[in-house]
Symmetry: C2
Subunit: 191 residues, 2 copies
């Protein structure tokens, strides 16, 4: 089980400022769903807001619209296969949590479950939806957690174990692991 | 000089689907500016759209509002220092292009210049601005280019030279280089 610590909402952008792929969880009544989403970004520091793209035709969007909330989490490489696999079936017909034997834990302020083996988790309430033609949703972050092993004193210290690192989705099943950290002050820049 | 090739607009999301940091260029009349932005994402495939966060108080926002267009590009690690340095002074007082001796080339459909040593470039026209309290801007992609050396047959083949890779911004001057590519079919997943 992931060892997650609560972090200040104003720091929640740090969970995905570097652009990793995400998993969005949703629930309404006795229905729940899970999908992968590469198109997410922080939108504001305080109050902390996020912008996510969720296609209007998806079951996730239906549950998010009905409940007004969603979970947003950033998977470790160890669940990369799961992250892509959940996109291959629709949650309308199947409870993906059972089908893929997904390990979850309870959120504190939303009904949607959160997924184990992520680097960070955000609980979000919908505050705005995009115009008719846009699949954009803006959420306010109401709770945030980070992997206690890798997020220390307000910053990341990513593990040398690549299975614990965050991942970035490209296209066609190709992903990239988050690479090495550097600072420009260290003279790495070719300036 | 970067060797850039034009790519289909529907493929333009591939330039930053993996969440690298960006540089936004803008121009209006004889004024021009450049800023770094971590909060950008694709918003749609066709017509290709992007969402970017540009603080309402910035000079860049002033030029983007006035001109209705902007350049969005994804720097290679070799200009990581420049990417962060341009945020330390305001373009209101200084022409940053001269001050930092920034190498540029002309865009085809917008007035803002594009920056050399990036992996990809998007020319964008503003189609929507966020509500009063939001710093969000939605742009339609009207031209797209990729680094000819690394983008082949519609997909990335990132160089082994880390100086040519894209970079991801975290906070406090810390960046991450885009790491190794993997596919979940390859058995990397711990499923």
């Amino acid at each position: 089980m992931s060892n997650h610590i609560s972090i200040p909402l104003k720091d929640s952008y740090k969970l995905f400022n570097h652009g990793p792929v995400s998993i969005i969880t949703s629930a309404h009544g006795d229905k729940r769903n899970i999908m992968a989403a590469a198109w997410t970004m922080p939108l504001d520091f305080s109050p902390a807001k996020v912008a996510v793209v969720i296609d209007k035709n998806t079951y996730t969007r239906e549950l998010v619209n009905a409940s007004g909330e969603f979970g947003l989490q950033f998977p470790m490489r160890k669940i990369a296969k799961l992250t892509l696999d959940v996109g291959d079936v629709s949650g309308r017909d199947t409870d993906k949590f059972s089908r893929f034997d997904i390990k979850t834990f309870s959120a504190s302020k939303i009904a949607a479950p959160l997924i184990e083996d992520c680097i960070g988790w955000l609980e979000c309430k919908v505050i705005k939806q995009g115009a008719e033609e846009m699949d954009l949703i803006v959420g306010e972050v109401v709770a945030a957690y980070a992997d206690a092993e890798q997020f220390l004193n307000g910053r990341w210290h990513f593990s040398d174990d690549p299975q614990k690192r965050s991942i970035h989705y490209m296209a066609g099943g190709e992903l990239y692991v988050t690479g090495e950290m550097f600072k420009t002050e260290s003279g790495y820049s070719a300036e």
